[in-house]
Symmetry: D3
Subunit: 254 residues, 6 copies
């Protein structure tokens, strides 16, 4: 019984995996503030756990490659401990992981990112490969966004998101020992608490304007993490895992 983590395989087992496991999952996180109750590595932890669950369900059709523990987090740099890569460095890193995998024969790469701040850089990687690697299929996915209906059903705050109800719930389910439950405190929960500029930046269907989190929330939290339950977290994670597994099934059938 071999591991579904490439890092736990020997090179001989890796050679077999190129043939038998045509999809490589790359978990990407962030190393950034998550308010007074969640740890800096929250996004990596969620991405790695989801990757494990996805790989287990795929039962040998995918392997998990090395993680990307740090992501693109300039908006959190005002909060102590946050480490951020420039978008170019993050993209280069994803590209060099992928280039090596491609050299060994893999053609289907799926980055699972626990951090939305990585999305733009992942998009640029996907685009640049179109010009140079026509036979590579490079895909990437966020986590929580795949479970929008579950989150909506949780009864979240008017303003919610980073370190809020949904993210805290996932951590209560996946890594409860790392949640400082007694320190969970609401951040910005209503649009009225935001400055006009911050409010503008939160509107959908408008021009996009990125803001630093110190202009969005004094404690770095959007929403009220006290509302989170491990049960809701389980429901989000299950939904996300099933969506990704279903996607890979379809992908392998193309």
């Amino acid at each position: 019984m071999t591991s579904h983590r490439l890092g736990e395989l020997t090179t001989e087992q890796a050679a077999a995996a190129v043939r038998d496991s045509p999809v490589v999952l790359l978990p990407a996180g962030a190393f950034e503030q998550h308010g007074p109750g969640l740890p800096m590595a929250t996004d990596l932890i969620r991405a790695e756990r989801v990757a494990d669950l996805v790989a287990a369900k795929l039962d040998g059709r995918a392997v998990i490659g090395p993680s990307l523990p740090v992501g693109v987090s300039p908006h959190h740099l005002a909060f102590a401990g946050t480490i951020s890569l420039s978008t170019t460095t993050f993209a280069t890193l994803v590209r060099e992981y992928t280039d090596s995998l491609y050299r060994h024969g893999w053609r289907k790469i799926l980055v699972i990112t626990g951090h939305g701040g990585n999305n733009a850089a992942l998009g640029t990687v996907a685009q640049d490969y179109l010009a140079t690697h026509p036979d590579l299929e490079f895909a990437w996915t966020p986590l929580t966004a795949l479970a929008g209906q579950v989150v909506a059903g949780m009864g979240v705050s008017e303003v919610h998101g980073h370190s809020g109800e949904a993210e805290t719930a996932q951590m209560l389910h996946l890594a409860p020992e790392l949640v400082r439950t007694s320190h969970l405190r609401p951040g910005t929960t209503t649009l009225d608490e935001l400055s006009p500029l911050a409010r503008l930046s939160r509107k959908d269907g408008h021009p996009k304007l990125a803001l630093r989190y110190d202009r969005l929330s004094p404690n770095g939290v959007l929403g009220d993490p006290r509302r989170a339950t491990a049960q809701a977290g389980e429901s989000i994670v299950d939904t996300v895992v099933n969506r990704i597994v279903g996607y890979v099934d379809d992908w392998l059938a193309t």
Copy 2:
């Protein structure tokens, strides 16, 4: 009566604009195939015209900076005439335009992009500025996406988008002399026409997988441009212009 285009002003007028017109609009296009009926510069044309209309309505509160005539279009490179920048080069270009404007004193930059392929690179520019230019407000917006309801009301094909109903309509309104009406032909209009992989890449709420357009549509078109009317185009453009003007009004009030 001075122009609202910075390129048509003298340096003395530009010095006044730094004070009186705190927003700079940067129109970004693409130089890429638009099927058998629309010209390569379609996205630039739409972006520049919208910028002109927006600036006119803002009546001196914004000026239009230099255009970005070429964008990120690797997915169209299989079609003759397409010119594409790498994501890094496009981002660097936007950054150097912005750096010079910042040096003169402007703090509010809004890129108006007629091409969705530029979105990811624009996102990376916005992020990287958060780490280095805390007092810069860098915003960007697509066009057609601001008028989703109008487009839905046009009765578009199941599969629609690039060079399809909505884009053709805008061109019929803004630059009818550049539409080869007699050559407008439907491209891919139903999911059934797509390969399984292409169908997978079109699904919402799933992992994202970028594909080259030669795998999506034989003639480079998604949707049926013959359904487009100048009237629908006018409605789209008006909606887009009003949304952007409203945004800038709110922005200036922050």
Copy 3:
């Protein structure tokens, strides 16, 4: 009757142009101060108009690719409104335009630059291609320098050049509506007005020393633009156009 501008063609027409129009003209400008009477986009306007005239005379043997609206203008950054690219970014931009054109099959590229500040970067592009693209013929040309005799015959000031007699004349001919005639004022017109260092930088046949324009002229002008006439401008433009057309004719015959 199709356009000679590639941006106004469809991809099918572009495919035909690869075969029938072996030369691509790329107009390059600058976005920089041009004294109190000329607009920031002066160099782009002249380059695009000349390209149009050249292409018209070549009657289908050349097409015009996308413009480069911003050039290398660090020497003008002290004047409001100037936008400058670094030499590396400008060169990369030219290279990526050319790379896409090369991919489609074009082998003869001619950059028409209205701005002398782009010359060095264009030279580096030409050199680097020699090592990597032996079958590419990459050429570039300035404008006014092709009509030296005409300019000499205009009776120019002892010190003349940027925004001076010859450049203003071209604008009076090509885009009179953008010339603020009442604001045309002489800049530095004699060597005596220059500081010793500035004078040194203007001598021919000596080491080259680049200086910022704020050290050359208080209002950013070299020469006396009031001496310019539309007639002289027409003569300059005609000469330039004929020289480029003659060159392309010879080039196509090689």
Copy 4:
């Protein structure tokens, strides 16, 4: 009782750590073949475990930052599963981790690398910081090289090193569940087995010549991993941990 891993702390705890824990340890690994018996992540596993042991002994005077799971491994790329960064990308990654830590106030960074292939790139990072960050103290250390005497006492093969006696011993001590004991097989163990060029590359006190591992050993192993014992591994690890702890103690006293 807080964690000594920065990734398990909240931002408030991180802010305290800047003050109380002046040293940040960064574990660096490699993702590369380790012969038929050891996993690809061997170097990361050893680096992370040693960092944990060091931090535990330092008892709050150091925290562990994010890992670098992939290193510089071009010499192993011929073996399936190996993922390698270019030296520039690895160095940039270390630099961007450090830049963020520096921004928060840390001035003492110690990279603990389980992979000797990272040494040169770490050396370049250290040098470049001398020119730009005079108050930063950037240090780095290999693992096994700190326990040379212990290794010599193990009775190693004439040729030994990668995936050999010492490395396998450490894994038998630290992560026995990931060692495929039944697959451990000797690689190149004597100089006579090497080609003349390979032999030349192994000589000390001579010019350095890097060779790919497929030219050094058919199965990617140098030495005989069957000689390894968990006991020897424990001795190596203890020595390494004590050396690093002693170093940090001295460092904090400067």
Copy 5:
């Protein structure tokens, strides 16, 4: 009596030179074919010797910094032995030399280049410094071009230049022991010998088109080096040296 070469001074003497010798001369060469009679290092040799002569005449007002032995020579790469830098690398090298000199206090840098192929890259360095180092005066000069009248008076071939009359003459004067006199052979000497494309590339006052030397001359020579004399070489060198010395005198007086 100290040397005028910075490389032969101690750091204490260098500290005095910052104060007493405000100009630093940087000799730049090329490492490229020079036909059957001249050595690869011809351009460096000439640049270094001229720098020595200039510094001697300036008698302490200038020092000579480190050389740039390799230049931008992609046009000669078809000939064995030629080593070429990309334009970006050459420019970066000049910039990093200059940055260090600037850090020590020098503000006047003069690159003396024996190779015309370096001109464009030197031009880009000069431009980029205008945006970032307003108090740096960065100048550069070619050699032979400063002595145009002397060369014209030598009775050169219709086509002449690289490794031809003037360059060979300088070498006969400066380093006769490195000229293989018996192997000097004419290269291309008349326009008629050139292909139409090559002829086009040699015309003045036209668009510029760079060509590889294997398309200009079978043996890499333009002109007839057998016409060269050491006497003519001395005259060229004297003229060049005097022009540069005069320039520096004027410069120091500004």
Copy 6:
């Protein structure tokens, strides 16, 4: 009788050298302070002289390529006159020299560096070539480190190294006219003179910590150069030359 310096050969002779002289030696120096008695170019001078001696002994089996006069010296930048390249620029330079030599057919490159600060960057070059140029054999060597026993036998100070006994001895042998004998003064000679941090940085078998030389020695010297003799220098140089010659002999026999 042709030169063993490639720069003194014609292109025809270089073409023969590709066939007959399969090894290219590249001398690398530094341009940095060497205390009150030795010149800035000390490392280049030693590298070039050793290369000459090695090439002479190899008698046609190796040629010397262009020098690298400036190296990686950020640790000496506080001392006047020091010029330093970033590690990336130095590595790029070595790579571009090598790329051109490779293009002509050479496959064995040996960089002889007189400066230890270049080692890390040379290591990165060697690694990156493993991934891209499998048939290139890129080697590099320091100088003094090859003669460790000779140096130990000289009776050096407790702290010795840069500009100390061994380096001064080599210069007294190779270039006595450039040694300011009367100014030779001891620098730091005992560990007690060092600050605790500096002492820590000098310990072997520990984590590595790079320090600027102004924190190691007030006059930039480690050791006592007054103990140096030309005789000891000759012995060091002879040993180094013989080691390199022996290495190349073995290399050519592989």
